[in-house]
Symmetry: C2
């Protein structure tokens, strides 16, 4: 068991991929390997990239990989994709574009289909980025496909959060509604060669102006890029590195790492506690009756959950006597 | 306490809003009121509306309200908005547009800022729609702002799921990547007077063609609308009603309601179990040490969560002896 963790630590992609899959599937040996890898995490720069569909995030990530590789940094990407693995492949054309780095041993790309994942997106991402961090990648990029509450949470847990926008999407900055404005450290207007880029920049600056200043004193930067040609990507990479240095100097990096760990711990606790109680209940005949009552809406879910937790405590107490 | 539930049952919007706020804040009297309201749920038609930012969902909902009102149906809307309540108000211009129905007693609109909500978006939505259902609204619409995993889950739990697209967003149907294609019962191309509507329709049809048929035999319908002028909204409302009838006739409505209840029960159980364990642990001195070890990354989150659940069981057993 520790053999596969050892090999992942040496950077073996096959072993790393296997550990991530185990974790995704909720297999106990995944957690076991993760525990072995955990002390080796904390070195990688975690960059979260989010933005509305159509903003060209995947192309941007692809261009960013090229720049980072030219600086001799190894890069891992976690592409978060709520689509099912079966239907997803066919329409993810630009994810495939990224695969031109597939033969580069300094690049490792994992697509995660996390729909219905136990413990949610943030747990799955924490686990995957932890494995990649321990494997020794200098930069671990988390790219979300959607822009929802979960996705915001995920990128917010990274060290550096990049919010990608694009000219002409919706009437104004519609696309940036969904709370992502507040979590961004760097802002990118991609496809900046399109008409309307100036307007988008103006709107963006106005909205950023109204934002409360960051606790660590970082001033968000604004970038114009054309990911397809690589324009502006060098500066973006530099700004990412500058943000990381800023976090280190202000001590915010440690605080962020601590918050990540605590967040993940609470997610795990939720899963573990419920799982333990459900396992315990499964041995009880009255449980299937309880579930049936909930499904038939004869019993409200609050009372049912409370009853189940109560029964669990009672049973433990009895077993001990 | 039951007084406020009684008043909500009579349709009092102030009381209903108060119960929803209590539930959002996790106040015990919220759960108490919900338990009183729960037996009165199950009548409303729950419609989930999702789609990428910029697709004009709010305007579409606004137009749909007008049509439903003209048919003498009362309508409640839960607008899910991951933006914080403070920064959110200013940029939600079209949410304000909907407020023209604000003086109509047959319309009730609630914006939910659910970021960081305990138990996630689906729990908060279940609770709010449950209250509105019990209040007697004929139609309860859940509108999401983002398109993420959580949002998909939320609309998937509705009776009828409407997926809104728009011409010219991204290269192809980029915007529909995020797994929403699979959950849709009705598909809308809004802003259909824009160039590219035919292409969007063609793409959409091709993608729907590749989709596995629904278990209940429903054939997804495709609609072209111009929400700003009301074009196509009548047909959309009819198709929603037809879908509801289809669910009733095939027995799928009951199955969906059962699935909703069970889903919510499991969400609650997760929250409740973790809460109980954390409360119990808070009385223990070693707990703050445990959290500190996790934050300092000296102890991995798996071991910490396991230790906490174990300590809980041990303590209960001891207390009983």
């Amino acid at each position: 068991m520790s053999e596969i963790a050892d090999r992942a630590l040496e950077g073996c992609q096959v072993s790393g991929a296997r550990v991530i899959r185990w974790l995704e599937d909720g297999e106990p040996r995944g957690a076991e390997a993760f525990r072995a890898l955990y002390p080796h995490t904390g070195r990688a720069h975690l960059i979260g990239i989010t933005g509305p569909p159509g903003a060209g995030k995947s192309t941007l990530v692809d261009a960013l990989i090229t720049v980072l590789r030219s600086r001799d940094l190894s890069v891992a990407v976690v592409a978060i994709d709520p689509t099912s693995p079966f239907s997803g492949g066919a329409i993810l054309g630009d994810r495939i574009r990224m695969q031109r780095h597939a033969t580069d041993p300094g690049v490792f790309i994992r697509s995660m289909a996390t729909r219905g994942q136990l413990g949610g997106l943030s747990r799955a991402t924490f686990e995957a980025t932890g494995v990649l961090d321990a494997m020794g990648y200098d930069v671990v990029i988390v790219e979300t496909v959607g822009v929802g509450q979960d996705e915001i949470e995920v990128v917010d847990l990274a060290h550096t959060t990049v919010v990608v926008s694009v000219p002409g999407l919706g009437d104004d900055v519609q696309a940036l509604k969904a709370g992502i404005l507040e979590v961004g450290d760097l802002f990118v207007i991609n496809k900046a060669d399109r008409p309307g880029a100036d307007d988008t920049e103006k709107h963006l600056l106005a909205m950023l102006h109204g934002r409360a200043p960051a606790a660590d004193g970082w001033e968000p930067t604004l970038h114009r890029t054309v990911a397809t040609s690589g324009e502006g990507i060098d500066l973006l990479a530099e700004s990412c590195a500058a943000h990381r240095s800023h976090l280190e100097e202000t001590g915010a990096l440690d605080a962020k790492a601590a918050r990540r760990a605590e967040h993940f711990f609470l997610e795990l606790l939720r899963s573990l506690a419920a799982q333990r109680i459900l396992e315990d209940a499964a041995e009880d005949e009255s449980f299937s009756y309880l579930i049936a009552s909930v499904r038939a809406r004869e019993l409200d879910p609050y009372s049912a959950a409370r009853r189940l937790v109560g029964a669990f405590e009672l049973r433990i107490a009895k077993d001990e006597n």
